[in-house]
């Protein structure tokens, strides 16, 4: 049981971290900071769509991660 708890906390923290990074990436992509749209070959026209998808992903990841952290 102790091993599962540790694994849950590590996986939960990693997943939440991925979620937070996704939020930051969403904003960087949306506002095209550091010319990231060109680096990722992402068109500016589709930026709102990428932002929406990344925000949904980050919301799910952060909540799922928090469930594991506070198990």
């Amino acid at each position: 049981m102790e091993v599962r708890k540790i694994v849950s906390k590590v996986v939960g923290a990693t997943q939440s971290g991925i979620g937070v990074l996704a939020i930051i990436l969403a904003y960087i992509l949306y506002y095209n900071l550091f010319d990231i749209q060109r680096m990722l070959n992402a068109s500016a026209q589709n930026a709102p769509l990428y932002m929406l998808l990344l925000l949904i992903f980050d919301l799910l990841s952060v909540i799922s991660g928090l469930f594991l952290i506070y198990e």
């Binding site: 049981m1 997943q15 469930f67």
Partner: protein, 488 residues
């Protein structure tokens, strides 16, 4: 100290300043131009009319705030009167509208700064201000109250200078000719448009658990601030339209700064711009206090996670609620979208006003013997007038606001039923979604690597997708196979 752990540290002055400071936002500095183009010089009728509509509901806030002095404001009133879904909807709209109002204030501040320094990054400045006021609020409600009092006093001095100089300024015949080019409809549209400048004074009711001698202080502070606001706004409108014609004001981005430029020169422009900044910051401060207390109350009743309930040992404030609510505000402020936020604020507050009046009427029937240190005069006329006028304002605001409100309502119902379902099922559901994301990421990585998906992407994306996929699948399995049903 209140039994909840919150400290009663706000006196009549602090509480009244919370009300005035909460209402005098950047709106009056920038919205008066369009309002005068709708109502003409009859804006001097529209603004007191807004104030009277506001006063109807403020009387209900005063009665309920004195009779039920615990944290949460409208939400707590609706909970005692109706309970269940109605209470949750009230709290939800109150929390959302205060979050939007905090965003509006911070972004509004940044836009005012951009008049002086056009090169600044608006979202970044807004975020910095939210962080500063979050820290002030964590330091304690007394510190937040002192900061508010100082800002409102300076703001009132600036507005007094504006009114006094404007009063002695002579333009044309020097007398104000009342005219409404679009008739009553124009005055009604201006009333609906400019009503936002009265919103925020009800923050007194939200902080009631932290007010000294609440049964006397709350009604006095609410009524005092509502009357003071009518006087302040009417005087501002009078000197503004007397100095400059509505046709010119309607074209100005910052009409008060323009009028100050006419009456006081460049010093006046600077003075009014600084006033606009202070107004934006004081309403930001009030809305951060209000949103965190509503989140605290929703958490107390199990609708929000229990983390929001934590009270700071040293400062005696719900610091987690302050931080988490501010994070939502920061996320909204980062978009810099001010128009959407403005509409959302209007809608949320007006729905809140309607529900408060309904709660008052319900409680008069349900609990006739409840001790009421203050009673709404001319009952039931006053709350009915509050409901009717609030709903009428919604009709004049426009269809896009109603659509937005319907969306927020659906989101509220979703959140309510999710909180009713129980944490175990929610966790399993999130585990399932996590598994789905993991499988989707793995499939995407496979398609990119094999060239079946014609995407030109950097090689590192493949490894990122594999990592995300592995973590998501593992998290999904752990959540779905959770051994306990007692989560949180």
């Amino acid at each position: 100290m209140d039994k909840s752990g919150l400290r009663r540290e706000l006196g009549l002055l602090h509480a009244t300043m919370f009300g005035i400071g909460g209402a005098i936002c950047a709106g009056v500095f920038v919205m008066l131009g369009h309002a005068t183009s709708l109502a003409g010089t009859a804006i001097v009728i529209a603004l007191p009319l807004c104030g009277i509509i506001n006063l109807f509901t403020m009387c209900s806030y005063a009665e309920l705030g004195a009779a039920i002095p615990s944290a949460g404001g409208e939400y707590t009133f609706a909970k005692v009167a109706y309970g269940g879904l109605v209470a949750f909807l009230t709290g939800w709209f109150e929390w959302i509208s205060n979050t939007f109002y905090a965003t509006l204030s911070s972004v509004g501040f940044a836009y005012i700064v951009s008049y002086i320094v056009p090169t600044i990054n608006v979202p970044l400045i807004a975020i910095i201000m939210i962080i500063i006021f979050t820290v002030i609020n964590i330091r304690g409600v007394k510190e937040a109250g002192t900061a508010e009092t100082m800002m409102v006093v300076v703001l009132l001095i600036i507005l007094a200078i504006y009114v006094l100089v404007g009063w002695s300024y002579r333009s044309g015949t020097g007398a104000l000719q009342l005219s409404a080019p679009r008739g009553f409809l124009g005055i009604a549209e201006a009333t609906a448009y400019i009503f936002v400048v009265y919103l925020g004074a009800e923050a007194i009711a939200v902080t009631q658990a932290e007010i000294k001698n609440p049964s006397k202080t709350i009604p006095r502070a609410i009524i005092l601030s509502a009357i003071a606001l009518i006087a302040v706004y009417t005087l501002i409108a009078y000197v503004t339209v007397r100095a400059v014609s509505p046709e010119i004001l309607g074209k100005e981005v910052s009409p008060l700064a323009y009028v100050a430029g006419q009456t006081m020169g460049s010093l006046g422009v600077i003075l009014v711009t600084v006033g606009g900044m202070i107004a934006a910051l004081s309403s930001l401060n009030t809305s951060i206090v209000a949103q965190s207390r509503v989140a605290y109350a929703l958490s107390r009743d199990g609708y929000f996670p229990t983390a929001f309930l934590k009270i700071h040992r040293r400062f005696g404030v719900p610091h987690v609620a302050v931080i988490l609510s501010s994070l939502f505000t920061i996320a909204l402020a980062a978009t810099g979208v001010i128009q959407f936020v403005g509409y959302a604020t209007d809608f949320g507050f007006i729905i809140g006003f309607t529900l408060v009046n309904l709660s008052l009427m319900k409680l008069r029937q349900k609990k006739p013997n409840l001790e009421r240190p203050f009673k709404v005069p001319l009952y039931p006329f006053t709350p009915i007038a509050g409901i009717v006028t609030s709903v009428m304002l919604l009709l004049f605001i426009g269809m896009n606001v109603l659509t937005l409100g319907a969306g927020l309502g659906v989101l509220a119902l979703l959140a309510y039923y999710l909180s009713m379902v129980g944490h175990y099922r929610i966790r399993v559901a999130f585990g399932g979604m996590s598994l789905g994301i993991g499988v989707f990421a793995a499939l995407l990585a496979y398609l990119i690597e094999t060239g079946l998906l014609p995407l030109v992407t950097p090689p590192v994306l493949f490894y990122v997708l594999i990592f995300v996929s592995a973590v998501s699948i593992l998290a999904g399995v752990l959540n779905v196979t959770t051994p306990t049903r007692n989560i949180f």
